[in-house]
């Protein structure tokens, strides 16, 4: 059975590594991009099934990446999970039209929250 692939876009290398560790243990294939520009290239290459995305990134923000993804029909359909310290300031309802399916608060999340979120967006 083909393993679902998850792209992690997170500029904290060790946190990205931690997300990848947790998702791999749950059986997902993971790729890490440390900033939005690199993520765009990776998305074209691997066509991930889901994207875990930090909001404040080096270079440009997650919203620039989301906007770019929405420009194309295929990438616009990839479910996005925002994983951010700014969760309390974001509205899922407002972001749903842009492909955002879940918002996780980094400050209070437990590792399983990430797995649950990925599972739920891939149903």
């Amino acid at each position: 059975m083909k393993r679902s692939s998850v792209l992690i876009v997170e500029d904290d290398k060790w946190l990205a590594e931690q997300y990848a560790r947790v998702l791999k243990l749950a059986g997902y294939k993971t790729t890490v991009s440390l900033h939005a520009l690199a993520a765009i290239e990776v998305i074209d290459d691997i066509h991930p099934d889901a994207i875990v995305l930090d909001v404040l990134l080096a270079g440009s923000t997650a919203f620039a990446l989301i906007h770019e993804l929405q420009t194309y029909e295929d990438t616009g359909k990839i479910p996005i999970i925002l994983c951010t310290h700014l969760a309390s300031e974001l509205s899922l309802e407002n972001l749903k039209p842009y492909g955002v399916k879940r918002i996780i608060d980094k400050s209070v999340m437990v590792p399983d929250d990430l797995v649950s979120a990925v599972k739920s967006v891939l149903l």
Binding site: D12, W14, H35, L57, A58, G59, H85, S107
Partner: protein, 247 residues
């Protein structure tokens, strides 16, 4: 016009970052390392991790905690700066930077990166405070560690300006360039002193730069940034020591 010490005190207590008091921003800045430490700890608690990986994660926890502690220590030093007594003395920047490189090497190695000192010849002495100058370079280096791309190295450079009257210590990173649009939008984000404006990167509150800007001013120096196509150099300019010319 330089700020006086009295103005420093006023600034440190009343500084605003993106409309938020510095205390709120400081709390936000500490969220990232604390969140990482928490995630790693929770995963270690769960088990199911090889011994080798456990060691790796524990090393990350200690190094991340050290970085967070550096920020809290800088904050405390910054608030107490106006009332503190500190000496300005001739300092050998080469020796200071070599010490910093040695101290930072474990952190950089853990990130698969290299930090190195690149100075072309024997450096002139500068006038400064060893502790404050060390904090400035450590802060720039921490910042560079976040932005250096892939396995790119970070370089600490010592240079002279104004015919040897000013010593510039810079930390060069090779990472994604900040776009002009973002750079312009940040133009007024951070006022380090009444004389100079320096810009934080987009995901940075600018608090760290604000603090080290105060440290630099306390030594009659200033900080600045040069953008490159492939990264940036954050630097501090300090007066060269006249000690040798008196001999």
């Amino acid at each position: 016009m330089s700020a006086t010490r009295g103005e420093h005190k006023h600034n440190s207590e009343g500084a605003m970052f993106g409309g938020l008091p510095s205390l709120v921003v400081a709390a936000h800045e500490l969220k990232a390392p604390l969140a990482l430490v928490r995630q790693l700890s929770l995963t270690l608690e769960d088990g199911n991790i090889s011994i080798e990986e456990q060691k790796h994660m524990l090393r990350q926890i200690s190094l991340t905690s050290e970085r967070a502690l550096r920020l809290t220590s800088d904050l405390t030093r910054s608030v107490r700066l106006p009332d503190a007594l500190f000496t300005l003395e001739p300092i050998n920047p080469q020796q200071l930077c070599e010490d910093i490189v040695r101290d930072l090497t474990p952190l950089f190695s853990a990130h698969d990166r290299e930090v190195k000192l690149t100075s072309r010849r024997r450096s002139l002495l500068l006038v400064g405070n060893r502790d404050l100058l060390r904090r400035i370079i450590m802060n720039f280096s921490d910042n560079a560690l976040n932005y250096a791309e892939g396995d790119a190295r970070v370089e600490i450079k010592i240079d002279t300006r104004n015919a040897g009257q000013v010593i510039r210590l810079g930390v060069r990173d090779y990472g994604p360039a900040v776009s002009n649009d973002i750079f312009k939008s940040l133009r007024n984000k951070l006022l380090v002193s009444s004389a100079s404006t320096i810009h934080a990167r987009p995901q940075s509150s600018g608090l760290g730069l604000y603090i080290v800007g105060q440290f630099a001013e306390a030594m009659n120096g200033n900080i600045g940034v040069t953008r490159h196509r492939d990264g940036a150099t954050f630097y501090v300019d300090l007066l060269a020591s006249k000690q040798l010319s008196l001999l």
